[in-house]
Amino acid sequence: MQPNTGTPQVAQIALSNIETIPGRTIIQSLGVVTGSTVRAKHIGRDIMAGFKNIVGGELKGYTELLQESRNEALQRLVLDAAQRGANAVVNVRFATSAVAGGAAELFAYGTAVIIQ
């Protein structure tokens, strides 16, 4: 059992952001898989962040919010990969974009592969 790495461990799918899973051989590529989520901050956190902004530094509320959202995006990516019958996703990349005011889209994409 692996300790919590901050990334979701669904269906034993190996993730990496390099071209291979180190130490394993890729047999087949199954195309691009994506996962995205749009999250808005809630007003309580917004107000607290406003106070914290006076002195600057880290805004912990937003850090947690974005961490949760990114985990959700990754989870969707992993589910997409599992549906295609892959057992690994390589070259995972993250992207963030601000859509309508106060909401952020978190996006993860990668290539689903079957490894030995």
């Binding site: 692996q2 300790p3 790495t5 901050g6 990334t7 190996a14 993730l15 990496s16 952001n17 390099i18 071209e19 291979t20 899973i21 180190p22 130490g23 962040a49 406003g50 914290k52 902004n53 006076i54 002195v55 600057g56 530094g57 880290e58 805004l59 912990k60 937003y62 850090t63 974005l66 961490q67 990114r70 990754l74 995972v92 990349r93 993250f94 992207a95 963030t96 974009s97 601000a98 309508a100 005011g101 106060g102 952020a104």
Partner: protein, 163 residues
């Protein structure tokens, strides 16, 4: 002798004028103190590391066998203080290097990388390969102006443990 109602009105009036100044002063001194403490804390944690286990190499060094790997990601939302933002707005009239924003962004990046190092150690990985940094602006309103500017810094990489 001034009556109580008059004193109340005068009190509210002075407070409404003084409160931005008070917040500004808190932001100036409190912010500088807080951020200095954050920087010293980060330096101490960086010095406590035996060696840097994060690299931007895309594959492990030759001759090493990897037994386990996983994706590691960590983020941080860093924000400048009101004082630093004010400073930046004044500076941006004349252009040039804006030191006050340099400081907080530099801190945010180093902190994100340091957290990735600590995450790798706490999960038992020997090294992090292909570390990437992503920065994105959050907290902007519809017109793109941001009153409370802040940036999200995301550091991610592949943790590997060697045989």
């Amino acid at each position: 002798m001034p009556d109580i109602e008059y004193m109340f009105v005068v009190g509210i009036y002075t407070l409404s004028i003084l409160s931005p100044i008070i917040i500004f002063l808190i932001s100036w001194f409190g912010g500088n103190w807080h951020q200095k403490r954050l920087r010293y804390d980060l330096l101490a944690r960086e010095k406590a590391m035996p060696k840097d286990n994060v690299s931007t190499l895309r594959s492990p060094l030759p001759g090493r066998r990897v037994v386990r790997s996983d994706l590691l990601a960590i983020n941080i939302v860093a924000a400048p203080s009101h004082w630093q933002l004010f400073n930046a707005r004044i500076k941006s009239i004349f252009g040039g290097n804006i030191k006050s924003l340099d400081k907080i962004l530099d801190w945010g990046r180093q902190e994100a990388i340091q957290r990735l190092r600590e995450l790798a150690i706490s999960n038992g990985f020997d090294e992090v390969l292909n570390m990437r940094l992503e920065t994105s602006t959050i907290q902007a309103d519809q017109s793109g102006n941001s009153k409370n500017a802040s940036v999200e810094i995301l550091a991610y990489g592949t943790g590997v443990s060697y045989q």
